[in-house]
């Protein structure tokens, strides 16, 4: 799929990707836009997400959820086809508190995909200030996570068996 088509599709119906996720709905998480290997999501400020009642600052857990989800979508957009993925680990660095009342945005970039693992970086920020992050993240995701044998590996094994059989035939 070409990139413009993908972006258009995500902007028009990308929220279908997360609408069926109960927790995404519960915190008002939205996909804003996307392109190949990149996803932009946001979560609006809401009183029930506050972690510090003295300051009104949103809890770090909300930023973890936002970056985790943005990273997962970026991985999906880096893969040739939809696959079951699972977060292996996620590190969040908190640079400054989110400002009360403001929407928190996130941009995640899946910068490397190997046969089994995808690597993602993310940034959480306000407005368009991606270079003044609230938090940054780095995470790894396991691909084809919920199958006993990943498809690619199964194909590889079949190929190896086939080669072995052919060799036997030659002998």
């Amino acid at each position: 799929m070409d990139e413009d088509k993908l972006t258009k599709m995500v902007e028009e119906s990308g929220n279908a990707l997360i609408q069926h996720v109960p927790h995404a709905r519960a915190i008002g998480l939205k996909i804003v836009t996307a392109k190949k290997s990149h996803a932009w999501l946001e979560v609006p400020y809401a009183p029930h997400l506050v972690g510090n009642p003295d300051t009104g600052v949103i809890h770090g857990g909300v930023i973890t959820t936002l970056l985790d989800n943005a990273s997962g979508v970026a991985v999906q957009l880096a893969l040739p086809e939809r696959s079951a993925i699972a977060t292996l680990d996620l590190r969040i660095d908190y640079m400054r508190p989110a400002e009360p009342g403001k929407t928190i945005k996130a941009h995640a970039h899946c910068y490397k995909v190997t046969q089994n693992v995808a690597f993602v970086r993310g940034t959480a920020y306000h407005d368009e200030n991606e270079d003044e992050p609230i938090a940054t993240s780095v995470g790894t995701f396991m691909l084809a996570a919920n199958r006993a044998t990943p498809v690619a590996m199964a194909a590889q094994m079949a190929k190896a068996l086939e080669a072995k059989d052919n060799k036997k035939g030659d002998a």
């Binding site: 109960p22 997400l49 959820t65 996620l90």
Partner: protein, 154 residues
Amino acid sequence: MDLLRKAREEGGTVDLNALIEAIPYAKFLGITVDQKGTEITTVLNFEEKLIGNPVLPALHGGVIGALLEMTAIIQLAYDAKGDALPKPIDITVDYLRSGRPIDTYARARVTKHGRRVANVQVEAWQEDRMKPIAAAHGHFLLAPPPESTQDAAG
């Protein structure tokens, strides 16, 4: 926070259920505290809204991260002598098993409680404590005790 200040001034311990009640996001997630003496276990009471993968189904990874971070904060608020909640500097979450749609428990261990920074390890599990679903370690910035001065040695 008033209740942290009150606990410090009266020399008592922090009422953790009151603390949870005062944190809107903890209430929203449905986190409660099970305290036995100085042992603190947080409980993430399962609700449908915590689901991140409706196909499996599994808890949202962010929710598990949030529980681990909240558990560290509660443990530090209980141990610390400051008036404000500790602030996260960084947290790394290892996801070990998918979180099934049942209650989840977590316990934090303060590896090092420094003057300004604490290093905390947290583990979350469901039915079997020996089979953790996630583990985290992180650094938290501690609120200074009110009587301290900026240039105090320590």
